[in-house]
Symmetry: C2
Subunit: 407 residues, 2 copies
């Protein structure tokens, strides 16, 4: 039997998805599982989008252009202009989700052995895409105790080598919910200029900023217009994660040309998703505001509740819909598995993403989890009660506790 690749062996399992089989088994046992592991909101997709889907009037579901439908790219230009991101239609390449935008950005910018610097904790799949491209992610730890603000510039500079090709940020941040300040963004810009780097900026959560502080796009920073590679997705803002439509935006001519070669190789992004995405951009301000207000409430509720559980701590996330929580456990990975495999409280359990998968520095995030506030308040309330009970049971000697079910 032939051997699989080392690359495949080195690929990390997704911290968000690798426990799914355990969750499925819990469900099979009849346990209700609260899914706080994944950024899959329960908010309905906009009616405009569903209506567009029902009214698709095509006889042949054919390939679209490799760079995406022109009509969608025009709509996206209009959308970005609302956020003072001045890009042309030609700068916008439609991708199969934000995921493909990250993959193609890495493939077209990085050669095997090239390095990019990323503040950690970071969205775990960046690591996976870097491994796919043979590139190396070098991480600068940020700290839960100061709310995961940008680490000092010196910490970045220490890591710069001749192979450093870029910096990657996610803003607002997944998993921390941090929103970079203008001061921090200018520090990043200065580094990008000084070392002539790419700035990969994942801004898929731009609609979700809760503190009144401004959202600053990488494209707002003067002087690095050709260094910026913007990663975007319609998944989160219109609650349509399944349609797999994202975008890679760049003004770097050579890069555009090369990204297009990767686009042509996979022929085209999904046609149906593009039609839905296009209609979604016309979603009413009322829908967007209602979604926003829903998250504002969930966020307040969730953070307040978590910080009342003995031994738990989470800083207030300023954006997105995640938060990183420090738990009073020895090993959050073990605890998350235990919740799915061995614990139940009144027939319920909780599914969280162990934060260790969002760090590359060994040992970091060992007692942290990422939680997504993507469920309704009533569900969140039940989930957090289950968490409280689970922590009590786990720390009282795990499966000897009366709340736990031996298996």
């Amino acid at each position: 039997m032939p051997q699989v690749s080392e690359r495949g062996e080195r690929m990390p399992g997704s911290p968000i998805r690798r426990l799914v089989p355990l969750a499925n088994k819990a469900i099979e046992r009849g346990v209700k599982v609260y899914r706080l592991n994944i950024g899959q909101p329960d908010v309905p997709t906009p009616p405009e989008a569903l209506e567009a889907l029902r009214n698709i009037d095509r006889k042949v579901l054919e390939y679209s252009p490799s760079e995406g439908l022109l009509s969608l790219r025009k709509k996206l230009r209009e959308y970005y202009r609302r956020f003072k991101i001045n890009v042309d239609v030609d700068d916008i390449i439609v991708t199969t989700g934000g995921s493909e935008a990250v993959l193609f950005a890495f493939m077209a910018c990085l050669d095997p052995g090239d390095e990019i610097i990323v503040p950690e904790p970071a969205y775990a799949n960046y690591m996976a895409f870097a491994i796919s491209a043979g590139a190396k992610i070098v991480t600068v730890p940020s700290n839960i105790d100061n709310g995961f603000e940008l680490p000092p510039v010196e910490e970045f500079e220490k890591l710069i080598t001749p192979r450093t090709k870029g910096i990657l940020i996610c803003n607002p941040n997944n998993p921390t919910g941090y929103l970079y300040t203008m001061k921090e963004m200018l520090q990043i810009r200065d580094m990008v200029l000084k070392y002539d780097l790419f700035l990969f900026s994942d801004e898929v959560y731009r609609e979700f900023c809760y503190t009144g502080a401004p959202y600053i796009s990488a494209f707002h920073l003067p002087g690095i217009e050709e260094n910026v590679v913007l990663i975007d997705s319609v998944s989160k803002r219109y609650n349509e994660c399944g349609i797999r439509i994202g975008a890679l935006i760049t003004k770097h001519k050579e890069l555009k040309k090369n990204v297009m070669k990767f686009c042509q190789a996979r022929l085209s992004p999904p046609l149906l998703g593009q039609l839905v995405a296009e209609a979604s951009i016309d979603t009413s301000p009322e829908y967007m505001l209602a979604t926003y207000n829903e998250y504002v409430e969930r966020r307040k509720f969730m953070i307040d509740q978590i910080n009342q559980i003995p031994g738990c701590y989470t800083p207030i996330p300023m954006g997105a819909f995640y938060t990183v929580v420090r738990l009073p456990v020895d090993d959050a990975d073990k605890f998350c598995r235990w919740c799915l495999e061995e614990f139940e409280y009144e027939g319920q359990t909780i599914f969280m993403a162990p934060a260790s998968g969002f760090y590359t520095t060994p040992g970091m995030g060992k007692n942290e989890v990422r939680m997504a506030y993507v469920l309704e308040k009533e569900e969140l309330a039940k989930a957090l009660l289950v968490l409280r009970k689970a922590l009590e049971a786990y720390n009282a000697g795990q499966s000897t506790s009366s709340d736990a079910v031996d298996r």
Copy 2:
């Protein structure tokens, strides 16, 4: 400005799509362009599939499982059984088109520097995906004069090195239309066994075999069940290229595990496409037969017509819906460009894919093009008349001909 990757520079432009900008310009000039360059059939998508689309009754267009919807995987198992391909649901991983299946197969089987052997001409994007994975495609030329049959085993064996990890075939073949015989398939099997290789088998055109000769799946070959990586797609058989649904099928446990890591990194295949694909598998036999008969007619018409054009030759394709044509020109790439940029006949021109992009051996395919018989007979007739006129004009001194328009 930071430098793009060498990998991106090395990526080939798609021979199928790289001339699209020239075609678009011709259209802008008011020229009617017959698109024989791309496997985008004009046959309508099955009514069952379009009906399923109109009836999607979901409030949230959410992520699907990374391996695809269970209901779709079950339907696919049923579908494969009709072709005596006995695979389990767990062996089937749904991908974003056959393209992603190829990419993930390479990523999970091949490390940088690993080699696979492929008979050429071959679907150009294999090269692109190999470059993405840092792997090397080594080609064995097949020959238009014997209809592109499998080159002798010795030619493969000459190329085997310690880095050889697999053989890739496309059967029925894109671009040649060749269908491998049982004798050839057994020769491939013996090599796979002897050298312990992966056999990547792209069988997306299995529904289109025209000569009565049997379709032989790699999974029909005894003794190499765990070496086979089957690449599939619903695009061609149900005329729904735009939905981007394919599959990677393997019984190799370690490989399955590793492919799943790449699947998790990109979260999920397109939800809407999966729903359409699932409904498509229930397409009526009448639809499938009508489509088949349509290609039978187009194939006969197209091949007969081409072989009547002075200096043109194409062997009879046994499957798929492409054929490779030898043209009486110095350089088919130049000729294809010229057709789009400089030529028109009664306001029409023809768009073909230069075959050089399907070969890696320099100089091969220089006077060949790939044509897809994906248009109705009436359109094909007009396209081939344009081709005849274009060849006359080109060889009469190119733009000095009265048929050509100087630009």
